[in-house]
Amino acid sequence: MLRRERWQQVPPGMRDLLPGESSRARRVSDRILSQMQRWGYREVVTPTMEYFDTLIRGEGTEAGDRLFKLVDRGGELLALRPEMTTSVARLITTHLRGHPLPFRVAYAGQVFRGSETGSGRLREFPQVGCELIGAGTLEADAEIVALAVEALEASGTQGCSISLGHVGFLQGMLAGLALPDEGAREVRAFLYQKDFVGLRAILDRYGIPATRADALSQLPVLSGPGAIHDARRLAGTAESERVLGDLEDLMKRLAAYGVGDIVRVDLSIIRDFEYYTGIVFEGHTSALGYPLLGGGRYDRLLEGFGAAYPATGFAVRVDRVLASSGPGESTWTPDVAVTFADGARVEALRLASALRERDLSVTVEILGRPWDEVAREAIAAGVPRVILVAGARAVVRETRGRERSMTVADLLELP
């Protein structure tokens, strides 16, 4: 086997997108962003790098490991953004302080994770997301969840669904257990790892009554139409009860948006308890084993930036949306290749320009090769249409069918 030199490779978890794949990625991203803009979310662009101190405010305890770090000339620690919400929080609190609330903000860009390696995990991937800042109402949550549904639909994803939970339900249940701090930490760790076997063992070790322990072990099945009803029997604390009431209210609001059948209550959604303060949700399609989208309410984040605005939002993983639709084809060829006979260069350029105005991708021969060679190679490479311009007339060769001769004017009328 040929030895691959370092300079021929890309770092682990990073990748090239070839033509075709890259245009699909851009299209998905553009469609989602446009949908957000139709809902009044205005796009912002933030730098790829931020100060480590900025990002650490938004990332909670594991941030240090997760960040891609760099050292600036002055010795300052910088990091590549691992997601965009923190940067948006910084932007809002520094540029838009004092403006009337709420802010509706959208973004699209690459994000970076320093630590994720192995089993095909990417360390750089594209996200498109939005944040609704300065509104703590259920109506704001409803808007964000409804927009999440529309974002997935706009992305072209088939058979998508949103699972909607709330961190307060689990937190209420945990508070009801009255565990010592150490125990509560351990229980959370097992929940994050989704290890319900270990969770049960630790609850038993702390002498939690079986009925309570059973209730927590039921968590993975607390989803679907009966979830709120079932959860009421298990809730145990006023906080959990209140949260279930909110979710019920929210589902009614979502029904009015016409997305009630795509969103399902799922109290087993476990996302960072430190970061999220209210609803949490994920978007799925059965075609992919990973969530396509994630989000929720994070009312504490902006406080860290000196403005205690409540906020809610989500981000879509564009790479996963593409993966869920299966592999496409990469294509390096234009829609049309134009070449010209002696003396017809100006007409050829004019034709190319007219075709480009119709949104076709068009190349013009620059190697001065004879017509037959140009046509044969282009067709073999997969160009659907090759044109030879000779004054006011042109010869057209297509993938299938014979060569035709027509006027340049007629050519512009071809489908």
């Binding site: 089993s119 095909g120 669904s161 699972s163 790892q193 989704k194 290890d195 319900f196 076997v197 270990g198 993975p220 099945v221 989803s223 679907g224 399902r264 799922d266 087993s268 994920e282 799925h284 399609t285 059965s286 992919l288 084993g289 990973y290 969530p291």
Partner: protein, 217 residues
């Protein structure tokens, strides 16, 4: 609706996994023994079973290539994958232990730096880190117990069932790092997008495993 895929690990968990699937009514008796196929269709076609290498099993489930899987806790601890671990199936009990050659076992706590051969580099690192010890890990894919005898490592961290392999190789256990049994794991998206079908399989396997462990006890 297409069938659910359950991934089963070849090797030491294979027989008990298949027997549990039989007891749950998904596989005809002994069907798995008479074939070398890697994908087995099941009795009622609601489920199909695929056979994977133990180290690869969680990859199938994490990526959603399998909706459910039967994995050793040792692999879950080592690989730290993003899957739901729902049921302790009880079989395949074994322990992860640190073992040293008899003549050096007494001194193992003072050796520094310490070289450990293992199939479980992450679990090894975590264990020695939690003890505040620096460790040099030598990752091997099999016959780990050979390493101390030929000077490749000072000791090993490996799975033991009866302890016979250790004694045959003049090794003695000095510390237990983890206990392992077979666990039923589920892909996080399958748990949601195919909730009812997944729950049915989980409950049938839970019941079958509990019944089998009662009858063998």
């Amino acid at each position: 609706m297409s069938s659910l895929t359950v991934a089963v690990a070849s090797g030491r968990l294979l027989e008990d996994s298949m027997r549990t699937l039989e007891a749950a009514g998904y596989l005809p008796a002994d069907a798995w023994q008479s074939t070398r196929r890697l994908i087995l269709p099941c009795v009622d076609r609601t489920v199909r079973v695929l056979v994977a290498k133990p180290a690869d099993l969680l990859t199938y489930v994490e990526h959603g290539a399998a909706d459910l899987g039967i994995a050793g806790k040792d692999m879950l601890l080592e690989q730290g994958r993003d899957v739901y671990e729902l049921v302790d199936l009880g079989f395949g009990a074994c322990r992860g232990v640190v073992a040293f050659p008899e003549e050096r076992a007494a001194a193992w706590e003072t050796l520094s730096p310490i070289r450990i051969a293992t199939k479980y580099p992450r679990a090894t690192e975590r264990y020695f880190w939690s003890k505040g010890r620096s460790v040099e890990i030598i990752e091997l894919n099999g016959t780990v117990e050979l390493a101390p005898q030929v000077g490749l490592a000072d000791g090993i961290l490996d799975l033991v069932m009866s302890g016979r392999t250790l004694s045959e190789n003049h090794l003695v256990e000095v510390a237990e790092v983890f206990r392992s049994t077979a666990r039923l794991v589920v892909n996080r998206v399958s748990l949601r997008t195919r909730a009812e079908a997944v729950q049915t399989v989980v409950e049938r396997l839970r019941t079958a495993a509990a019944a089998r462990s009662r009858s063998s006890a």
